[in-house]
Symmetry: C2
Subunit: 318 residues, 2 copies
């Protein structure tokens, strides 16, 4: 907890509204390690100081549970109170989901990030954003496995490397200028739990070398702005093939993205969303159309698409 320049706690009844963006995770060789914030969509959490100690969720859209313990916004809010040493404070939440759950774009993480930032603001900002990561990881762990590569970019924005969770140790990586992402999300249900269960328990040593070599090159490419190196560094052969096999048309969609000029393409999170990195907005729009068409042709699935800058901002008060 930082002690410098902490604002006074908000009076009872005062409220804040915080937006936290969707995020790509498991970026290429960065399984559980690399995530990226999108400009939109995202979740909005309204938090209000109330007289009753503890966290209650008054309203939630999108079919997510109202029980604070089963909702990542609720868990993150409680964890934020706990870490700030202010569990006697009462908080009421309203959660407006801006995206469906189960698309692989960090829906549960966005709710957690928005709630953590909102509660911290009401408390007078005793915790820095980096200190909210642990609270959000605990929330994620309730519903989507213990990983930090969605909550970290959703909180901080941009491209974030999660070196460690215990304690949280994250690095914001520089994003090459004008880098854009295209995302295609098919109308296909794939639960994170099923996708996680399909993961292999181990990887051949040569795959470990392949992944470490590629993620190291990807980070180097981000610092040096070498887009050709970035394009060569997105491959992964442990998790992505397993998950691609669960998503109709996934391989053809990634191929279509490359054929349309993407630097690279892979699965976001547990899927079924597929993303592509592109060197310009015009290219990203063309790639998004190509991915949508490929989902329809090869997966027989309608897909929605998103185009976003690769260094979108993180959670913030509205």
């Amino acid at each position: 907890m930082s002690t410098a320049s902490v604002a006074p706690i908000a009076p009872r009844g005062e409220e804040v509204r915080v937006f936290a963006p969707a995020s790509l995770s498991n970026l290429g060789p960065g399984f559980d390690v690399l995530g990226l914030a999108l400009a939109a969509p995202g979740d909005i959490v309204l938090a209000r100081r109330s007289a009753t100690p503890g966290v209650r969720i008054l309203r939630a859209t999108g079919g997510v549970p109202l029980e604070a313990d089963a909702n990542t916004a609720g868990v993150a809010a409680r964890e934020t109170l706990r870490r700030a040493g202010m569990t006697d404070v009462g908080i009421e939440l309203e959660v407006e989901k801006g995206m469906p759950i189960g698309t692989g774009m960090g829906s549960s993480a966005a709710s957690a990030a928005a709630a953590a930032v909102a509660v911290n603001l009401l408390l007078g900002s005793p915790l820095r954003k980096q200190e909210l990561i642990g609270a959000c990881v605990e929330a994620e762990a309730r519903v989507a496995g213990r990983h930090g590569d969605n909550v970290s970019p959703s909180l901080l924005g941009g491209l974030v490397l999660v070196r460690s969770l215990d304690p949280p140790d994250v690095v914001r990586l520089p994003v090459p200028e004008d880098l854009m992402v295209a995302v295609a999300t098919p109308a296909f249900e794939l639960s994170t739990r099923v996708a996680r269960a399909a993961l292999p328990e181990s990887a051949p040593l040569r795959s470990l070398v392949h992944s470490t070599a590629n993620i190291a090159a990807l980070v180097a490419a981000c610092y040096s702005g070498d887009l050709a190196l970035l394009a060569r560094s997105l491959d992964e052969d442990v998790v992505v093939p397993v998950r691609a096999a669960l998503i109709p048309g996934a391989r053809e969609v990634m191929r279509a993205a490359l054929d349309a000029g993407a630097l690279g393409s892979s699965i976001s999170g547990a899927g079924p969303s597929i993303f592509a990195l592109c060197h310009s907005e015009a290219r990203a729009r063309a790639v998004a159309r190509a991915m949508e068409a490929a989902f329809l042709q090869y997966g027989r699935l309608a897909a929605s698409t998103i185009v976003s800058p690769a260094d979108a901002p993180g959670a913030r008060a509205l």
Copy 2:
């Protein structure tokens, strides 16, 4: 093969002498992926144009074979001729080993790098140094497994990331200012073959995440100059523990390095050399003494030590 500004081939009888440095490899989480050139020791290869096509080794110190096919200098020389399209040229080599083999400091790679650069110089430099990496990797493959994290720094100098071998794709990483390495080499024979055979065939998925997270952070630390992050990023839990168990006192030596103020410590190559990264030359000297003492105390082994800048130059004509 580049065609610009190629010098004429040297006349028969002309000779060059090239030094190539020893190198650390398997740096922390960079098994088969990250290597670093040392200022010294190194090997010297003298190459001379002769009338008889092909490569012959006239003399070699250090007990390495004279058969060109069994000596990395010979193989690298032949591969360099082949890649330059000049297999009709005759080359005589003399190899002066500046270090013993089997210490984990890239002895076979140094001979290969020196020979490749020497032959290329005699040919009028038709190949760039980056193009010599493949020739040296083929040489390494004959004696020490197919990996590029010794030959690449031995050729190019500094800290080098090997993203791929087929084709060779390497990145020179920036080295934080004043970064030094201390190395302790115990009087203990450990063959690369035995050390490779002891490797696990696979790694748990959580270890893959640990390695990708750490190597990504290590690369970020090199670009940003964040020595504290560098210090947190050297851990590896797949290969290093297995090899540490083969080297008497290894764990205690790495611990002694940290206790003496090293940023991090790990095993170089297949061992038995152990290295430590340090933020100053004075610290590196103290760490080297501590490692030497720990090898004696806990491994009952005498050890020699080296201190070197972390961005030493690569192979060059003398």
